[in-house]
Subunit: 365 residues, 2 copies
């Protein structure tokens, strides 16, 4: 029997509070990451009914043992037939007349199958409830993100020692990914970006055959996944002498990042955090060279709410949010600089969770 | 201007034929893999309108250059605002009164946003059109799968040389993944399974701290992703002497696999291929020890139609399909044996695309 104050129990209580005003006593959770979040179960192909009463996990024989181990507090149904039929049985047993679902993770086809299997049940779309719960991390989650940071940073230090002139972007990315695995990552948090010189001017470059040479700029955007949680970091390394313009741009990005981090804190509008970074870049005349947002939430996924951007962004930072702060300047066809750290919003301010050196002098290979 | 007989043009023609009886002259493609399949574009966050007239890709500034390069035959719209608004503009320009969509990849929330932005347009769910197109591979796709096989097999041979007693499952999987990257894979096709002894009795085991010892059974299920296409292979290795029961079970699985491969060919019911393997395992008294299907299609995804299973499976193998054949016997708490190869269905029979040795004598480390 799990302790009353375990994270899953606390999340279920928060979920119930969020569901009350939405008119759905129970929520059908279908997205595997959300199933893990609300139950602790880490397998695939399983659904959870959460909200009213004891949560119920519907899974199959492959996961029977794992489910017993991972979510002792939940009722566990081992289905033999179709998922929707097993669901219908549980819904009948519980006499639920209304069932909430997440319209962002249920497809139109699945919605139709649910409607057919649950004929007398009102299906109510309940958008963004789970993502809003997940946006504020609890203690265990922050600890998990710190572990991911630790693994990624250890791997990056080892990776730096392995870099040799002539290595391709693809080879460099493979080396960093391998070091992350050896350091304890399950896998990279996302496809690692290693971008040399002009490649670094494209924010979403995929590593290719381009080689590192003397004088090259090497942008590395990477993260580790450990125990289901991720981190997301960017550093720029220099193979030898750094040109004056690169120095200048690096300093600007560093200042922009520092300004955004300093701005971050509980109750601060997301748009203000973006503005703090963007103003410095714009004032220096690089308006058009920073076309992405300043940051995003992270946790079980690499991109989660909130989004820290210049427009259409509402809401404030809240205690427990973990966000990236990653301004950049991209000079097409030449080079790009981005510096990215992960920041926890606390009750009174912020705490930077990442510790890799970023002073220019430390970035020379 | 692409040649008239390039794969994308041929796919568009096949799509038009499939759309005709469905009452939708054009299809909105939202799933990124399907966008790639129907246009050649490999970026993210982009949609395609295909069917009537010249295909139209809706993307953003990050991908402008890449889209120009990858899909010269398509109209390219670089959106500034929301995706649905850019879509609405194109739909108005083309005077489309009906637009098909894939109900399996459009969420309920997106369906609602589409309905709002496309007020006067009839949105018609067109299920399984793209997956049925993708099930039959064209020449270029088979070539791509062969390349993925080549990379995975080269990596596996190198991996075998690196195996040492005492290595954990996690370390073994990391080593194989690294070898695949070095051999030219973009990434593993799926999380590599390395399962030692009793772990191998769980078909979806995740590599953990368990160590390889003298006499261990090591099941390795792996694949490479190369140029967007994957392969999927399983081999079982033995660290030293092989126990008699293991020999016996290995032989059975080998016979079951050979029978299913021999059965495979154009027009053969999927269920018959499964039966060919299953009968041998059942006749030997291992009825309950083979609880998954005999195989599945693969291509751009690791699991694609068709599904080769024992029940609820309709349809036949068709020329151009590439499927896995992977029967297994799992003795809970003791060990498991699965042997998996990738098979192309040809006009007259079948061709096994994978060539890694699988005779028992060759599997001893």
């Amino acid at each position: 029997m799990p302790a009353r104050n375990d994270p899953v129990t606390a999340r279920l209580a928060r979920l119930r509070q969020k569901l009350k005003p939405r008119g759905a006593p129970a929520l059908l959770v279908t997205d595997p990451v959300n199933v893990t979040y609300m139950s602790g179960f880490t397998g695939d192909d399983s659904w959870l009914i959460a909200g009213a009463g004891r949560p119920c996990l519907i899974t199959d024989f492959r996961y029977a043992e794992q489910a017993e181990h991972e979510c002792p507090g939940a009722r566990r149904v081992i289905r033999r037939g179709a998922m929707v039929e097993a669901l219908a049985k549980v819904v009948r047993q519980r006499r639920l007349s209304t069932l909430g679902f997440d319209p962002d993770s249920v497809s139109v086809a699945l919605r139709a199958r649910l409607a057919k299997a649950l004929k007398d049940v009102r299906l109510v779309p309940v958008p963004e409830v789970l993502s809003s719960l997940r946006a504020r991390k609890d203690e265990g989650e922050v600890k998990a993100i710190r572990r991911a940071v630790g693994v990624a940073e250890e791997a990056f230090r080892e990776f730096r020692r392995k870099i040799r002139p002539g290595m391709t972007e693809g080879r460099l990315a493979a080396e960093l990914d391998h070091q992350m695995r050896l350091a304890g990552a399950e896998c990279p948090a996302f496809p690692t970006i290693c971008a040399v010189d002009a490649s670094a001017s494209m924010p979403h470059h995929r590593p290719g055959p381009k080689r590192l040479r003397r004088g090259s700029v090497l942008l590395v955007d990477f993260g580790a996944r450990v125990a289901g949680y991720v981190c997301d970091l960017t550093r720029v390394l220099f193979a030898g002498r750094i040109r004056l313009q690169v120095r200048w741009v690096y300093g600007l990005v560093q200042d922009a990042q520092a300004a955004a981090i300093e701005k971050a804190g509980p109750g601060v509008p997301l748009i203000e955090v973006d503005k703090a970074a963007r103003k410095i870049i714009q004032d220096a005349g690089y308006n058009d060279c920073f076309q992405h947002g300043t940051g995003h939430g992270l946790g079980m996924a690499v991109h989660e709410p909130p989004s820290i951007g210049p427009k259409g962004v509402k809401g404030n930072l809240e205690p427990g949010m973990v966000v990236t702060v990653e301004p950049g300047i991209y000079l097409r066809g030449r080079f790009g600089i981005r510096i990215e750290d992960d920041v926890l919003v606390t009750g009174s301010g912020r705490q930077v969770l990442t510790h890799l050196e970023k002073d220019l002098a430390a970035m020379v290979l």
